[in-house]
C-alpha cells in the first residue's frame, strides 16, 4: 500500500516536472509549493541567515526555471533540485569566505554507534537545535536524510562526494546528534 502510495506520489511529481518543462507555469508553481518549505529549511541550515537564505532560494528557483527544460529525467528532479541548491549555497558561503569545516564541536570519539533515525526525529525541537551544533558537512547530510529520506547514493550525488564519504558523514552526524540530544536531555 505504501509502495503504491509512494509510486503514485512520484508519478504525480514526474507529471508536474514534465508539465513544467513544457512551459506550464502553474505546474512550476506547484513544484515550488511542494518543495519550498523543506528547501527553505535546507538552505537556511547551510546559510544560517534567514534574509540571505531567501535571496539564495530565489536564485535557486530561477536557475531551476531556466535549466528545467534541460533535465533529461523528470524522475531525477528532487536530487537535481537539491544539487542546484547545494551548489548555490556553497558558492554563496565561499563568496563570503565561510570555511565549511570551521566549527567542529563534537570530538572524534563517536565510534561505531548504531543510531535509529526514526527515534532521532521524535523530538523536532531538539533535532532542530542539535542540527545547529553540527559541522556544515554533517548538518547538510543529516538535513537531507531527515527532510527527504534520501539514499546514500542520492546524498553523495547532491553534495558531490563519494558514497563512502556520504555514508561516513551520515553515520558520524547521526551519532553526534544523538550525543547532543542526550546531553541536552541530561541538562534538562
Amino acid at each position: 500500500m505504501t509502495d503504491l502510495h509512494d509510486e503514485r506520489r512520484r508519478l504525480a511529481e514526474r507529471a508536474l516536472v514534465v508539465r513544467a518543462q513544457a512551459g506550464d507555469r502553474a505546474a512550476f508553481h506547484d513544484l515550488v509549493e511542494r518543495y519550498q518549505r523543506r528547501l527553505t529549511y535546507y538552505v537556511h541550515r547551510l546559510i544560517g541567515d534567514a534574509e540571505q537564505s531567501r535571496d539564495i532560494l530565489q536564485e535557486i528557483w530561477i536557475e531551476v526555471f531556466r535549466r528545467l527544460a534541460g533535465l533529461r529525467s523528470p524522475a531525477a528532479f528532487r536530487v537535481w533540485l537539491y544539487r542546484v541548491a547545494h551548489h548555490r549555497a556553497i558558492k554563496h558561503l565561499r563568496r563570503k569566505g565561510v570555511e565549511a569545516r570551521a566549527e567542529e564541536v563534537i570530538a572524534d570519539t563517536i565510534g561505531e554507534l548504531v543510531v535509529d533515525e526514526h527515534a532521532l526525529l521524535e523530538n523536532a525541537e531538539l533535532v532542530h537545535h542539535a542540527l545547529g551544533k553540527l559541522t556544515l558537512d554533517h548538518r547538510e547530510v543529516l538535513t537531507l536524510r531527515f527532510l527527504e529520506n534520501l539514499s546514500i547514493h542520492e546524498i553523495a550525488e547532491i553534495v558531490g562526494c563519494s558514497e563512502g564519504t556520504a555514508k561516513s558523514r551520515l553515520h558520524y552526524a547521526k551519532a553526534a546528534m544523538r550525543e547532543i540530544i542526550e546531553q541536552e536531555q541530561e541538562h534538562g
Binding site: 503504491l4 508519478l11 507529471a15 514534465v18 509549493e33 527553505t40 531567501r54 526555471f65 523528470p74 523536532a124
Partner: protein, 137 residues
C-alpha cells in the same frame, strides 16, 4: 503507510521549528519569485527583439551599401553605414549564438518532453486506478 505518515509529520514538525518558514514569508517569497520569473522572461523576449532588429538593420544597411551607392562614391555616409553594419552584425551574431546555444536545444527538449508528459500522465492515471482497485473489498 502509518509509518510514512508519521515520518511526514515528524518532518513537518522539524520544518515548523525554523523561524524562516512562516506562511507570511512563504507567501511573500512566492510573489517575489513570480516577479523575478516574469522579469527573466521579459529579458528573453527583449533579447529576441534585439536580435531581430539588429539582423534587419544589418540587412537594410547591406542592401543600401550594395544597391544605393553609385560606383566609386566613397563618402562619410558610406563609412558610417559600414560601421553601423558591422555593429549590427556583431550584436545580431551574439543574439544568434545565444539562440542556438540556449533556446533551440530547449525547444528540441520540450518536444521530447511533451511526449513524455503524455506517457507520465497515463502512468499516473494507471497508478490511480490500481489504487482504487486495491481499495475495493
Amino acid at each position: 503507510m502509518a509509518e510514512e505518515n508519521e515520518r511526514r509529520q515528524q518532518v513537518d514538525n522539524l520544518v515548523a521549528q525554523d523561524i524562516a518558514i512562516t506562511d507570511i514569508t512563504m507567501q511573500e517569497f512566492r510573489m517575489q519569485l513570480e516577479a523575478a520569473l516574469a522579469d527573466f522572461e521579459r529579458r528573453g523576449v527583449h533579447l529576441r527583439r534585439i536580435a531581430i532588429r539588429a539582423l534587419l538593420a544589418y540587412l537594410a544597411i547591406a542592401v543600401i551599401l550594395i544597391v544605393g551607392q553609385p560606383p566609386g562614391a566613397a563618402s562619410i555616409v558610406a563609412g558610417i553605414l559600414a560601421i553601423l553594419a558591422t555593429t549590427a552584425m556583431v550584436v545580431g551574431g551574439y543574439a544568434v549564438i545565444i539562440y542556438i546555444g540556449k533556446v533551440a536545444p530547449t525547444i528540441r527538449q520540450l518536444q521530447l518532453e511533451s511526449q513524455n508528459a503524455m506517457i507520465a500522465e497515463l502512468q499516473q492515471q494507471v497508478a490511480s486506478l490500481r489504487e482504487q482497485v486495491q481499495k475495493r473489498p
